[in-house]
Amino acid sequence: MTETWTTGRLVLMGAGVVLIGVGVVVGLTSVPQGQWPSVLLWLAGGVAVHDVVLAPAAVVLGALVLPRVPVGWRPALRAGALGAVVLAIFAAVIVVAAGVRRDPSVVPVPLTTSLVVATAVLVLAVLVGAAVGTARGPARGRDPADPELRPREDVD
């Protein structure tokens, strides 16, 4: 945050503040007050799930799991973990939605079919990715090192 605040960045910052302001005004004027606690609960819940579940799971994956598998497998397993989290979210939603649906055209595919097919696609993709990663062998860079680049720069 030591870089110069150019006019362009200040304009962007101002635009962002205006957009947030629009959202806050729209929310305060269109959403009944009685609904605000539920909205805030769901907003906070997302951050809580991220901090309590997703980030620790990522630490465990990076610190405990990936170092123990062959190098060629790691990118595929990382992507597989990403796909598995997405699939888990969908699976939970699909199972509940199938239970509360009001018409058969909602979640038209049998649960076992959809989840087995999606899991098979995921596993197949990981195996193909691992095979490609293993076949390529140990990583070797092509370009010379850039001493000015620091990999753990504060980016988020």
Partner: protein, 387 residues
């Protein structure tokens, strides 16, 4: 080198410097961020289109053409939102070492930056999760989804723009540097590329397994989608059933009449009387705000012909009121430009058969380039809106 154990993590939480994987490199974080911002931006713009269809403004009127306009727009909205889910997870994963910065706060500006990131994370997760649950018609909350989804969208986009403003120099530098360029002699280019390739495969895979709710040729592959294009009674998915809307008895009552009211008077038409009027056949998409859509063949009476029976104005807006007494979408207004378009029809038949009651029997509106929630079902009356 000793491997990390779970007990090590319990004893001493990691700091940002402990995360040595090349996937946390700014070049990776920035590239994932660009993709995520593109998905969020697409969802925001198409969401505005949907909002303006439902809350029209005089300075930006929609046209009935192209007929597939809303189908494309809303299909993109949901596809982009679903694609944003793995992209957001990947972005959080790539950037999460920043959560372990020491010291946690370095001053007021840093506090503001951290706060804006918290808003960004909270609103992004909120929008994607509630949007996902909405398309599956699961509402485990106590607020109006549409209103809150619209308001929070502005906050999300605003916090993305602020985040870009704060990080712009870092982002620009990161995007300029090739992924394969080494740092201090590392050989991590393939790892960085592999991570991005994994994200791409995940996003494309998820899209392939869901987009068939609006892309008919991929309907069979849509195993993770809440709908499949073409699957439902009479080949069209159903959003709200007649029983769910509380109209089953009135919709199937032989005494039903469609009231058409305008400055020239009022007429009441039975279904037989409607069938005796000149019939037209139109092939139009029905496109739901929840993202599913399908093309169908509709038959019925032109809206313009009904309006002409009670009004000599052909530019008037027309209100369609359903038998459904409660609900946010029990009536809609068809703008004049749509009402006089020859493809805007009070449909009596779908796919060559009488409308199924869950599709709006005895009569429903179908018009081009219009959200499904505004294609009012189980019509009770049609009113020419006074100028």
């Amino acid at each position: 080198m000793a491997r990390t154990r779970l007990s090590d993590l319990r004893r001493q939480p990691p700091s940002q410097a402990d995360f040595r994987s090349p996937v946390h490199d700014p070049r990776v974080v920035a590239r994932v961020g660009v993709l995520l911002a593109a998905a969020i931006g697409t969802a925001f713009v198409t969401g505005l289109v949907s909002h303006l269809h439902q809350h029209p403004v005089a300075w930006l009127p929609f046209s009935p053409l192209p007929a597939w306009g809303f189908r494309l727009s809303q299909g993109l909205h949901v596809a982009a939102g679903l694609a944003a889910l793995p992209l957001l997870l990947a972005k959080l994963y790539a950037a999460y070492p920043a959560l372990f910065q020491r010291p946690r706060l370095r001053g007021p500006l840093h506090l503001l930056e951290r706060g804006s990131v918290a808003v960004l994370v909270a609103t992004a997760i909120f929008q994607l999760v509630t949007g996902l649950l909405n398309i599956f018609q699961w509402y485990p909350w106590s607020f109006s989804f549409v209103r809150v989804h619209f308001a929070v969208a502005w906050v999300l986009v605003g916090s993305v723009v602020i985040h870009v403003a704060v990080k712009l120099p870092t982002i620009a530098a990161a995007l300029r540097r090739p992924l394969d360029q080494e740092v201090d002699g590392d050989h991590d280019g393939p790892t960085r590329r592999g991570f991005l390739a994994g994200i791409a495969v995940t996003v494309l895979g998820l899209t392939a397994l869901t987009v068939g709710q609006t892309v008919t040729p991929l309907s069979g592959a849509a195993v993770l989608s809440p709908r499949q294009a073409g699957v439902g009674v009479q080949g069209v998915p159903v959003n709200r059933t007649a029983r769910g809307a509380g109209v089953l008895d009135r919709a199937t009552d032989p005494a039903w009449r469609l009231t058409v009211r305008g400055p020239g008077g009022t007429v009441r038409l039975s279904r037989a009387a409607l069938e005796a009027m000149p019939q037209v056949t139109v092939v139009l998409p029905i496109a739901c705000v929840e993202g599913w859509s399908t093309t169908a063949t509709w038959q019925g009476v032109r809206v313009a012909d009904l309006v002409a029976a009670v009004s000599d104005r052909d530019d008037a807006d027309v209100r369609f009121v359903s038998l459904q007494e409660a609900g946010s979408y029990n009536e809609s207004v068809l703008p004049g430009a749509y009402a006089r378009h020859p493809d805007s029809v009070v449909a009596l038949r779908l796919g060559g058969e009488p409308l199924h009651v869950d599709h709006g029997y005895p009569a429903r509106l179908i018009a081009p380039n219009r959200p499904g929630v505004l294609q009012t079902k189980w019509l009770d009356r049609i009113e020419v809106v006074p100028a």
